[in-house]
Amino acid sequence: MYVSVKGGEAAIRRAHRLLADRRRGARDVAEIVPDQIREQLSLAVDRVMNEGALHDRDLAALAVKQARGDLIEAAFLVRAYRTTLPRFGASRPIDTGAMAVERRISATYKDLPGGQILGPTFDYTHRLIDFALASEGETPAPERLDAPSGDGPAAEIPRVTELLAMEGLIEAEPESDDETAVGDLTRAPLRIPAGRDLRLQQLARGDEGFLLALGYSTQRGYGSTHPFAGEIRIGAVEVDFEAPELGFAVPLGAITVSECQMINQFAGSSKVAPTFTRGYGLAFGQVERKVMAMALVDRALRTEELGGAVTAPAQDQEFVLSHADNVQATGFVEHLKLPHYVDFQAELALVRAMRAEHEARIEAEFLDEDGLEEAAE
């Protein structure tokens, strides 16, 4: 008997045991605990929550540990868990205008109501490896400034787009209405063309790298949208849930989100005066790069509804939405590891037959040429 595929069950069991061993690494190094990941690798946790499409910092941290730091694998673990969770409703729309802002910047105004707040950012750090981090040491607590007099800490920080809207310079924010249900792409198969609600859902859980590359491509001329980073804000917002039997909304808690409003040029059409248009990005946690790329791609995907011609990949709904999900993408790319020998056998036979035919044809041509030469002589 040949043994190549026998013993699969035992092999799988042993492989998984080996995997657990490699995950643990050298035993003389302390084992990492999910709390450390949640607190000290929090941006990895944020990414996993977004691509795993579930807000649960502890679960995402555990997934990062289980996945040995492979963030797509971690997102996959979270997704598979998410499928099994019951759904009892949708929250009220969160109000990012009422955000407890930790970071808020605008690239379109030098100063503006609410001010520019840098917050915890990598921006303006020099990317020099900090060797001091390799040794243990206390990190000093952040400095606290007294709230500037006048405004008070609880002062509202208006959105930049609202300032533009007052002048009518930017398209109106689409009105949310309670009557129309928001689509859920995990509960209904995505149909193209998809509404903006579904598009933004897919982008929010889409792969950060994919969105980054697509957003970048629009900046390099593949579907330019002439963007300005109108506003990026990061902070905590309250999530309210309206239970039908209560009749009023109750707060479930606060989550940190990142929001990006891109302001893009729009030359107008025969019916619409020239205005600025919006590209929007929103995601869990501190994920500035993700929401900026998302906003660029969101605007690019609106090309058709704004009367433009779809010419670039980032503007193409079917291309973008079908390929943004990295859990799907990694599964299908990696399924090439599975045995394909039945199909390969079929191809092998065909290629052999075609090569034999090819050889016979060359030989026949060679003989023909010979014949011609002889005739010429």
């Binding site: 699969g8 799988i12 198969p189 995505l190 079917e318 599964g331 020998y341 056998q345």
Partner: protein
């Protein structure tokens, strides 16, 4: 499939519903299945769930199986025709864990057979259900990448593009250069992708007494062939469809009518051809059929023959 569909009769993995999926999801999938059976060959969109296995590794088939499995079912899972390939082992273990169903490797004993890339050699019977794992359900996908376009083409039964492709193959190569996932026409209406089964298996699709269900998880589509559906592999009058034929019988069981895998047995080009359907091969050997290389001295035989050829200075000829 024929067993009662009532959940929770057997203790399964704790914390999960019978066969993993919750009953609402199963109901959604069953609705899609009913529609698919009612319109043979038509791709029905369904809200495929994120599963605990990767997309592309059989999540569509697994969801269909989960939706039709009852506690009295007997499940067989094959990949490449074999019960013991790693992914088949993994999927079988999944349903043992989550549904605690009886499993078998014997085609005749199974009520539900989940398969990737093959149809069992033993003819299926009425009452059996064959569940295919499908990577790309759209037969026109490689001719037209856009779903928005292909949907219209199916609606209008506009399959000219496919016929042109097959014609171009003949013009270029002398024959249709499609050896697996060979497109079929269902009851004279829908062109359907039979999943990447070798075209050798295509004739088994037609007029089968068994129910054949196709699940594509990543692409979120389900389609079906109810029992005794006419399924025709696309061809031309002057270039009729020809299933793959093998020149040699199975080296282990001597079968001449089964699909064979080529197994390379050394680094000098020695090969053997054996049934891809392991159950079929084992059953035949149990019935006393013997191929050229059956028996425990197999490795010796191959080595000896290869050595003889090499010593003679003759080119190494593929076995047998």
């Amino acid at each position: 499939m024929n067993a009662p569909l009532s959940p929770q009769t057997a203790p399964a993995a704790t914390g999960y519903n019978f066969a993993y999926l919750d009953e609402q999801t199963k109901r959604m999938i069953r609705r899609a299945l009913l529609k698919a059976v009612a319109i043979p060959g038509h791709q029905v969109p369904f809200a495929a769930r994120d599963m605990p296995m990767p997309y592309g590794w059989g999540t569509g088939g697994i969801q269909v199986t989960a939706a039709i499995l009852g506690s009295g079912d007997v499940l067989k899972v094959i990949d490449q025709g074999a019960d013991d390939t790693t992914n088949a082992v993994s999927i079988r273990a999944f349903f043992q864990k989550t549904a605690n169903v009886a499993v078998t490797t014997r085609t005749a004993e199974a009520t539900v057979i989940q398969t990737r890339h093959r149809i069992p050699e033993k003819p299926l019977k009425a009452g059996q259900t064959l569940v295919f794992q499908v990577p790309i359900p759209e037969p026109l996908r490689f001719l037209e990448p856009r779903e928005t376009e292909t949907r219209v083409m199916h609606a209008l039964a506009d399959y000219g593009l496919m016929h042109v492709k097959l014609y171009e193959d003949i013009a270029k190569h002398g024959h249709i250069a499609k050896t697996y996932a060979y497109p079929v026409e269902v009851e004279g209406r829908y062109v359907m992708d039979p999943s990447p089964i070798p075209k050798f298996d295509n004739p088994k699709l037609s007029m089968s007494p068994a129910l054949q269900l196709f699940g594509a998880g990543r692409e979120k589509r389900i389609y079906a062939l109810p029992p005794f559906t006419r399924v025709k592999s696309l061809d031309f009058e002057d270039h009729p469809f020809e299933p793959t034929r093998f020149e040699a019988p199975c080296a282990l069981c001597g079968a001449t009518d089964s699909y064979l895998d080529e197994v390379v047995t050394d680094d000098r080009g020695t090969r053997m051809f054996v049934c891809s359907d392991t159950d079929h091969c084992e059953e035949r050997r149990a019935d006393g059929h013997r191929g050229l290389l059956a028996g425990d001295d197999l490795v010796d035989t191959i080595t000896r023959e290869a050595d003889v050829e090499r010593d003679d200075g003759a080119p190494i000829v593929p076995l047998p």
